[in-house]
């Protein structure tokens, strides 16, 4: 905003308002129609994302249940999740401080499981997607015949409706039908190994692995295609230059391909992390959080609490935990992208 100047006021006198307006206008920048361009997006995002988002924050700070607005309760929902209470009744003195008591054994243990699961889930599946997506991209670049078929097939998991393909995986991993166990038991030469039957969805660690695997299956193509796009963009001259310097294949990959892929990788990892952390459908269909809550993710647990148990307040508090984690990831990623390429967002 322009700050009015006394001498100018005296001098310009009656043109004051017009001048101010002009200065103010100039301070908005040369392209005023830009506001018109972003207006539709701003309206839609404000009504359908920003407003609901603040409503969700309000929910998390209230004892709202479905159908009732609820009362302000401050941080009680968050305290509840971690087992912090106002003056626990029968706790030893060292757990009581300043009117609060904190006993982690009174925390919502399903929530703590959720926290653990989500982190494991996101880290493992993003790493897997990254590694194998890079591999697929390199192969796609080299495969010149049947190009369309190969690219199309690799993309299939990403484009087919998630919930429906997850149902297909369910059939494959199902404890009763389990196609994999059938293979292990009946298909030569696998049957000679005497493996299985494995409880793909029944054993806690295997179940989490299965869920990670299905997410990996679904998300890998996004990595593959985006990295592939990045590979295509690397100028051929760089490789030629490296070759004339007598660089080996591995060195070329390490010193030319990877550094140039870094920004693409950063962006794709960022997006994938967002998708993965907020994943709902896979767990909702495959395990419903079981066995023994070893596969609950933020989205599914907040759905259970917020919708099935009607406690929107607590449900919103749970899914809000996702937000700082995502924000952290984004900040790290953006720092990386900016530093590498100078491109910003």
């Amino acid at each position: 905003m322009a700050i009015s100047n006394t001498r100018e006021q005296v001098l310009v006198g009656r043109d004051l308002t017009a001048a101010n307006r002009q200065r103010w206008r100039r301070s908005l920048g040369p392209d005023l129609d830009g506001y018109g361009f972003v207006l539709p997006a701003v309206i839609i995002m404000a009504c359908l994302v920003v407003y609901p988002f603040f409503l969700a924050i309000w929910f998390s700070l209230s004892d709202a249940v479905i159908g009732e607005p609820g009362q302000w309760v401050g941080l009680e929902n968050f305290m509840y999740l971690f087992g912090i209470m106002y003056e626990g009744e029968d706790l030893p003195w060292y757990l009581k401080f300043r009117g609060f008591s904190w006993d982690l054994s009174l925390a919502d243990d399903i929530f703590l499981m959720t926290l653990r699961n989500t982190l494991l889930f996101a880290i493992f599946s993003v790493v897997l997607k990254g590694v194998f997506g890079l591999g697929a991209a390199l192969l796609m670049q080299r495969a010149t015949k049947m190009k369309r078929f190969i690219r199309g097939s690799i993309l299939v998991p990403f484009v087919a409706p998630t919930v429906l393909t997850t149902l297909g995986w369910w059939l494959i991993l199902d404890p009763t039908y389990s196609h994999i166990n059938w293979l292990l038991a009946n298909a030569w030469p696998l049957n000679l190994l005497g493996l299985g039957p494995y409880q793909w969805l029944g054993n806690p660690n295997l179940a989490l692995s299965s869920v990670i695997f299905v997410n990996f299956w679904r998300g890998m193509p996004f990595f593959a295609v985006t990295i592939f796009a990045g590979l295509v963009a690397i100028p051929e001259q760089l490789y030629e230059a490296a070759e004339t310097d007598g660089a080996s294949t591995l060195r070329k990959f390490w010193h030319v391909t990877l550094p140039l892929l870094r920004p693409v990788m950063a962006v794709v990892i960022l997006f994938s992390t967002i998708f993965t952390l907020a994943d709902f459908g896979i767990v909702y269909v495959l395990t419903r959080g079981g066995p023994m809550n070893y596969t609950h993710l933020f989205a599914t647990y907040s759905f259970t609490v917020g919708i099935l148990n009607q406690e929107i307040g607590l449900g919103a508090a749970i899914s809000l935990f996702l937000f700082p984690i995502l924000l952290l990831v984004v900040i790290l990623q953006l720092k990386m992208v900016r530093k590498e390429t100078g491109y910003g967002v």
């Binding site: 159908g67 404890p175 419903r288 959080g289 079981g290 023994m292 759905f303 148990n309």
Partner: protein, 446 residues
């Protein structure tokens, strides 16, 4: 404006006169009486009575409900619409309707929901009283009530959990049908050795919640006191029940039950693998409609399945059941009409048709209807009229309420039982953990 007289004539129009007369004779108060007594609603073709229910396990049951709704709509001169959602998605849909205070007029509700949504459901005390009186009373006292004891929903039907058992396998090893849980374990042990384990879920599934509660009750344990507020799960009886569940799992079941959902036990039985499951008659019915065959033979599975009462434990025979209720939203603009529909639907004739259409799957809470001819039509349904004596709603012995519903939704009993069965915890620790979790939830909801 339609006068009461016109309303009656419309109701007893040529299309429905006979059936209507019969039903109004059969019942002490029919729709006509009710409509005559009250000022009729402002009727126009633009009004629509809307009902939402879950996709029934037996499609013909939905069709019959829809037919009744349409018949009622014709009589009352309003449009009707019936929507369905998948069984597991009903809670989400109801939540969205209540949150928006908009949606259907009539809604199917599960057992804890009348209390959960008590502020949003109209009081049906008078209707339940009336229907109950003309139908010989209810077999259950707590279903449909909220915490204060008012009916927030009409008790509709329940889906019970008998044992579905392979009679041929039991005969092969020279045993008789099991009567107690110890029998189940003994027989299950022998049959598991022959490759026919028994199947009871220990997982995030509705069936697990029902059956494991049944086992705890049969050992004399209980989740809460009668007040529905005091957590009482930590008792020697419950610990014993958990010990039994562990023994049953190790002796007579396979690991896969840890991942089962509601459908896996049906598949296990119908594929000829499982010897016993605790399940509604849907397993038997689908074996019959799909004509599932015993592996390697031409013999239909359904011929060798029979249903028997849930087994007894040291403290008697108790089992949980899926009680369904139907209520009217407060935000509905057609409350009276919705109540009239309920009155219509709960007449003997309509009820019997509905029960018939469900192929014996639905079981009535009204005493008069429980001796329905369909249960006599198939010897495998013989248990149905009597199983109501042994079944309780999940909150038992308290009323089902928000806290008990939360305990249910977070699968606290199945999870702790599974932890105990897989040696992650001792029975004592598992029960202690369940107690802590339940106390936390009950404290939150008090």
């Amino acid at each position: 404006m339609v006068t009461p007289y016109e309303m009656t004539t419309r109701l007893t129009g040529p299309a429905s006169r006979r059936s209507f007369l019969r039903s109004s004779m059969a019942t002490s108060a029919g729709v006509a009486g009710m409509l005559l007594a009250k000022t009729p609603p402002a009727i126009g073709q633009d009004r629509e009575l809307r009902l939402i229910t879950f996709s029934h396990f037996v499609p013909t049951s939905d069709a019959e409900l829809k037919r009744q709704l349409e018949e009622f709509g014709q009589m009352a001169g309003v449009k009707v619409r019936m929507d369905r959602v998948a069984h597991l998605q009903l809670p989400a849909v109801l939540a969205s309707e209540v949150q928006g205070q908009k949606g259907h007029d009539l809604t199917a509700l599960w057992v804890g929901m009348p209390d959960l949504y008590k502020k949003h459901l109209i009081n049906l005390d008078d209707l339940v009283e009336k229907v109950g009186r003309r139908s010989g009373g209810m077999t259950d006292d707590i279903v449909g009530r909220d915490g204060e004891g008012h009916y927030r929903a009409m008790p509709w039907f329940f889906i019970s959990f008998p044992i579905a058992v392979r009679t041929d396998l039991i005969a092969e090893i020279g045993e008789t049908l099991p009567n107690t849980w110890e029998d189940v374990r003994r027989i299950g042990m022998q049959l598991k050795a022959k490759g026919h384990p028994i199947g009871i879920q220990l997982s995030h599934s509705e069936d697990a919640n029902h059956i494991l509660r049944g086992i705890i009750w049969s050992w004399g344990g209980k989740l809460v006191e009668e007040d529905g507020k005091t957590v009482a799960i930590n008792s020697p009886e419950t610990v014993e029940a958990y010990e039994f569940i562990k023994a049953l799992f190790n002796d007579a079941m396979e690991q896969e039950v840890l991942a089962w959902d509601d459908r896996n036990n049906n598949v296990c039985l119908n594929s000829g693998k499982c010897s016993m499951i605790l399940n509604p008659i849907s397993a038997y019915n689908s074996a019959r409609t799909d004509n599932a065959l015993l592996p390697g033979t031409e013999r239909p599975v359904h011929q060798v399945i029979n249903h028997i009462m849930p087994p007894a434990g040291p403290a008697g025979r108790h089992m949980s059941a899926a009680y369904n209720t139907i209520g009217v939203w407060k935000f509905s603009k057609n409350q009276e009409l919705a109540k009239e529909f309920l009155d219509f639907h709960f007449q003997k004739e309509q009820q019997e048709k509905h029960l018939t259409a469900s192929e014996g799957y639905n079981q009535p809470l009204m005493r008069t209807f429980s001796m329905h001819p369909i249960y006599a039509s198939n010897s495998k349904y013989y248990f149905a009229p009597y199983i109501g004596w042994y079944t309780h709603a999940p909150g038992w012995p308290g009323t089902p309420n928000a806290a008990s519903e939360t305990v249910w939704r977070q699968f606290i009993i199945p999870d702790t039982a599974a932890a105990c069965a897989t040696d992650r915890m001792t029975a004592k620790q598992a029960v202690k953990k369940a107690e802590m979790q339940m106390k936390r939830l009950y404290r939150r909801h008090s």
